[in-house]
C-alpha cells in the first residue's frame, strides 16, 4: 500500500519538477541560440575591440600590441578630422532621416486609402529596400556625375550650370542622403501602414461625426495612434545614420571614397574608422573610433528616451505637475 501510494507521489513530484523546469528553464533554452551567436559575433568583438583601442596595433602585425592606455581616445578628441566626421555624420543623418520619415508617413497615409491595385503599390514601395546598397549607390553616383550625369543634364534645361556634386560639401551630402532616403522611405512607409491599419475604425468615425476634417483626422487620430511605431523607426534610422558607411564610400570612389572627399567634406564616422584601420593601418585608433560611435549611439538613445518620457508626461494630465 505504502509503495503504491509513494510511486504516484514520486512520479507526480518528478512531473512537477519537469513542469517547473519547463516553465522556468525552457524560455532560456529557447533564447539561448540567439545569445550564443550574440556572444560570439557581437559581444566578443565588442570586448576585443575595446582591448585593441587601448593599444597601438598595426594591421599588418596584429600580434604586436603596445599598451598605450587612453592615448587613442585623447588623440581622437584632439583630432579635427574626428570632429569633422562627427559633424558630417550628424548633418547627413538629419538631412536623410527627417525627410525620409516625413515622406514615409505621407506615403503610408496615401496607401491606407482604398486604392485600386494597392498590393502593387505596397510591393513597389518596398523594392528599393530590397536593392543592395552597392547597386543603389552606383546608380545614384552615375546620376550625380558632373559632366554627363542625368541630374545635371536635367538642371541644365533650366539653365543651371553643372554642379560638381562630389567636390562640394553640401551637394555631396545631399546626394548621399538621397540614396539613403530612396532606399528606406518605402520600408518605413510599410511599417507605418501596418500600424495605421491597427488603429480602430470607430475612432475615425467618431472624429468624423465631431466634424474633423481629413487633415485633423490624420494629425489627431492617425499620428497618435501609431506613435510607438514612429518612435521605433526614429530609433532604427538614428542607428542607421550613425553607422552610415557604404553609401559615401561608393559615392566617393577610390581614395576619395575612403576619405570622404578630398577635403573630408562627406567623411562619416564609419569612413573615418575604415580609413584609420585599413588605409593608415592604425587598428588601435580605428577601434577607438568604433567605441566612440557606440558610445554616441548609447548617448543618443538615452537622450531620446528622456525626451520621449518628458514629452509624454507633459502631454498627459495625470503625469503632469500642473
Amino acid at each position: 500500500m505504502a509503495t503504491s501510494a509513494l510511486a504516484p507521489a514520486g512520479r507526480q513530484s518528478r512531473r512537477a519538477l519537469l513542469h517547473r523546469l519547463d516553465l522556468k528553464a525552457a524560455p532560456y533554452a529557447y533564447v539561448a541560440p540567439f545569445f550564443v551567436v550574440f556572444a560570439a559575433f557581437s559581444f566578443y568583438p565588442l570586448v576585443h575591440t575595446s582591448w585593441i583601442s587601448l593599444n597601438e596595433v598595426n594591421l599588418l602585425t596584429l600580434d604586436d600590441k603596445t599598451w598605450v592606455g587612453l592615448d587613442n581616445y585623447t588623440a581622437l578628441l584632439k583630432d579635427a578630422q574626428f570632429w569633422n566626421a562627427l559633424a558630417n555624420t550628424f548633418t547627413i543623418g538629419v538631412i536623410s532621416t527627417v525627410p525620409q520619415l516625413l515622406m514615409a508617413l505621407g506615403l503610408a497615409h496615401l496607401l491606407n486609402y482604398k486604392l485600386r491595385g494597392s498590393l502593387f503599390f505596397r510591393v513597389a514601395s518596398i523594392t528599393p529596400y530590397a536593392t543592395s546598397i552597392g547597386a543603389a549607390a552606383l546608380v545614384f553616383t552615375m546620376l550625380f556625375e558632373r559632366d554627363f550625369g542625368m541630374i545635371n543634364w536635367f538642371l541644365g534645361i533650366f539653365g543651371v550650370e553643372n554642379i560638381d556634386w562630389e567636390a562640394q560639401k553640401w551637394p555631396a551630402q545631399l546626394a548621399i542622403s538621397s540614396i539613403v532616403v530612396w532606399r528606406w522611405t518605402g520600408y518605413n512607409a510599410l511599417l507605418y501602414l501596418a500600424a495605421m491599419q491597427a488603429v480602430p475604425k470607430d475612432l475615425y468615425e467618431a472624429a468624423a461625426i465631431d466634424g474633423a476634417s481629413r487633415w485633423q483626422q490624420f494629425t489627431k487620430v492617425t499620428v497618435p495612434g501609431i506613435r510607438a511605431t514612429v518612435v521605433f523607426t526614429v530609433v532604427l534610422s538614428t542607428i542607421g545614420a550613425t553607422q552610415l558607411f557604404g553609401e559615401p564610400l561608393i559615392f566617393g570612389k577610390g581614395p576619395n571614397g575612403v576619405s570622404g572627399g578630398a577635403d573630408n567634406q562627406y567623411q562619416t564616422l564609419g569612413l573615418l574608422l575604415y580609413q584609420e584601420g585599413w588605409r593608415n593601418f592604425r587598428m588601435g585608433q580605428a577601434a577607438a573610433v568604433a567605441w566612440a560611435m557606440f558610445l554616441l549611439l548609447v548617448l543618443i538613445l538615452v537622450l531620446q528616451r528622456v525626451l520621449a518620457s518628458l514629452a509624454s508626461r507633459a502631454s498627459s494630465p495625470q503625469g503632469g505637475r500642473r
Partner: protein
C-alpha cells in the same frame, strides 16, 4: 616559426578585424589555395588586379593547354586598392591567400620590408636574369630575398588629340609635339596655356584631364622623391616634390584641367566624349584609353615622348610560402614572366615588358599602335624606359603618400583652397597616415 598558439591568436585577432570591417570583408570569401590531388592533377589559384593581361590575353588558357594536369583559377579585382586591402587582411590572418598573388609596385616596399617571410624567394630561380636590374631591386627585401617576378613596367609618354591640337594652332606631328615640351614639364604646362588661349572648336575642351597625372609623371622620373636612401621621409624638403607640386598647381590654377579623377567616374565618359586634349600616359594606360574612347575616336589620338622619362606603376607576381603547390606555382610564375609571354602581352594590350630580353626583341622594338595613329609605341616607350633612373628609392607608404598628394591637388583644383593651405593639409595627413 609561428607556434600554434600565436597562430591561433593571429586568427582570433584577424577574425575581430574582419568583424569590424563588416561588409568589406564579406566579399572576400571563396576558395583559396589550390591543391595537388593524387592523380597528378594540380590546381593553382591566383589573385590579380586591374588589367595585368595574363588572363585577358589568353596566357592562362595557353598554359593549361600545354600542361593538361594544371588547372588555374584566377580571381581578378578591378581596383588595386580594394585588392590590396583584402590581401592585407588575409596576410594578417594567414589564411585565404591564393598560391600566387599580384603585387603593385607601390606596395612592393611595404611587403618586402614587413612580410618577406610569407613569400617564396624567387631570387635563386634559374632563368630569371632577363629582367631590368632595377625591377628586381624593387621587390628585394633587406636580407636579399626576391619576393616576386616582374610583369610589366610603366614608362610614360603623353597621349594627345591631334584634331584638338590642330584647332588650337599647335603642331600635330608627334615629333614636333614632343619638341614643344622637350626636357621640362613646365613647358608642357606652357603649351597648355597657349592651347587654352588659341583653341577654336566651339565646345569647351580642357588641355589635360587632371593635375594629379602631371604630378605623378614628374616625381616618378627621379630616383628619390617621397623617401630617402635610408628609408627616411624626405618629401617635405624634396626639391623634386616641391617643383612637381608647383607645376601641377600652376596647371590647376590656370584652368587647364578638366578636374577629373583618373580611373574614376567621369574620366571614362570624358574620354569617350572628348572633353580633354592630353593625358600623361604610362604604357599600360593605352589599352584603357582605346577601350573607353572607343572606335569613334580611333586615329584621333597620338602618342608623343614625355618631357622626361619616368615610370608609373608596374607589377609583380609572388608565390606564397603557405601554398601547397609551391613548386608548380613558381613554375607558372616563371613562365608567365618569361620574355616570350611579356612580348605577347605587350603585342595584345600594350603592357610594357620588364624583361630586358623582351625589350630588345623585334616584336617590342617595332611595335606600332593602330589606334594611336600608328604611333611607334615600342620605340617611344622603350626610350622612356631607358631614361628611368635605375636606383629609384621606394618606400613602404608610397601608395598612400601618392594618394594623399592627389587629394591635396584636388583641394586646389576643385575646392578652391590656396596652394599653401592644401600643402599644409597634405603634409598633416601624410604625417598621420605614416604614423
Amino acid at each position: 616559426m609561428p607556434t600554434a598558439r600565436t597562430r591561433f591568436r593571429t586568427r582570433v585577432a584577424a577574425a575581430t578585424a574582419a568583424a569590424l570591417s563588416l561588409a568589406l570583408v564579406a566579399g572576400c570569401g571563396g576558395d583559396s589555395t589550390g591543391a595537388a590531388s593524387k592523380d597528378g592533377k594540380v590546381t593553382i589559384t591566383m589573385g590579380l588586379f586591374g588589367v595585368m593581361g595574363l588572363k585577358e590575353t589568353g596566357l592562362l588558357e595557353k598554359y593549361m593547354k600545354e600542361n593538361p594536369n594544371v588547372t588555374i583559377k584566377a580571381d581578378i579585382a578591378a581596383d588595386e586598392q580594394t585588392y590590396y586591402g583584402a590581401l592585407q587582411t588575409r596576410l594578417a590572418a594567414g589564411s585565404g591567400l591564393k598560391d600566387i598573388q599580384g603585387i603593385e609596385v607601390n606596395r612592393a616596399r611595404e611587403l618586402a620590408d614587413t612580410l618577406a617571410p610569407r613569400f617564396v624567394d624567387l631570387g635563386e630561380e634559374e632563368g630569371t636574369d632577363h629582367f631590368l636590374p632595377w625591377k628586381a631591386g624593387q621587390v628585394t627585401s633587406k636580407d636579399g630575398k626576391v619576393i616576386g617576378l616582374g610583369t610589366d613596367i610603366g614608362p610614360m609618354a603623353v597621349c594627345y588629340r591631334k584634331d584638338m591640337f590642330e584647332k588650337a594652332g599647335l603642331p600635330t606631328d608627334r615629333e614636333k609635339v614632343a619638341e614643344l615640351w622637350k626636357g621640362d614639364w613646365k613647358k608642357y604646362v606652357e603649351v597648355g596655356k597657349d592651347f587654352k588661349k588659341n583653341y577654336e572648336g566651339g565646345k569647351k575642351v580642357a588641355y589635360m584631364d587632371s593635375s594629379t597625372g602631371l604630378f605623378n609623371a614628374q616625381i616618378y622620373g627621379n630616383s628619390e622623391y617621397f623617401y630617402g636612401k635610408d628609408g627616411e621621409l624626405v618629401y617635405r624638403d624634396s626639391p623634386v616634390v616641391k617643383e612637381a607640386w608647383d607645376t601641377a598647381v600652376d596647371a590647376a590654377q590656370s584652368g587647364l584641367t578638366a578636374e577629373l579623377r583618373q580611373f574614376q567616374d567621369g574620366w571614362d565618359p570624358g574620354l569617350s566624349n572628348s572633353t580633354f586634349a592630353t593625358t600623361v600616359c604610362p604604357a599600360w594606360m593605352l589599352a584603357h584609353i582605346s577601350e573607353k574612347a572607343g572606335e569613334a575616336n580611333k586615329g584621333k589620338w597620338d602618342v608623343a615622348e614625355a618631357p622626361k622619362g619616368a615610370n608609373w606603376g608596374g607589377s609583380f607576381l609572388g608565390v606564397m610560402e603557405t601554398s601547397p603547390v609551391k613548386e608548380e606555382a613558381v613554375k607558372l610564375v616563371k613562365w608567365l614572366t618569361a620574355p616570350e609571354q611579356q612580348e605577347h602581352v605587350f603585342a595584345e594590350i600594350g603592357n610594357f615588358p620588364s624583361s630586358r630580353t623582351a625589350l630588345e626583341s623585334d616584336t617590342v622594338k617595332n611595335a606600332k599602335s593602330a589606334y594611336f595613329s600608328d604611333a611607334p609605341i615600342g620605340e617611344i616607350f622603350g626610350k622612356a624606359a631607358a631614361e628611368i633612373p635605375g636606383d629609384q628609392v621606394l618606400g613602404p607608404k608610397d601608395g598612400t603618400i601618392k594618394d594623399t598628394f592627389s587629394q591635396g591637388l584636388q583641394l586646389v583644383e576643385s575646392q578652391g583652397k590656396s596652394p599653401a593651405e592644401a600643402w599644409r593639409t597634405t603634409d598633416e595627413r601624410i604625417r598621420k597616415a605614416v604614423g
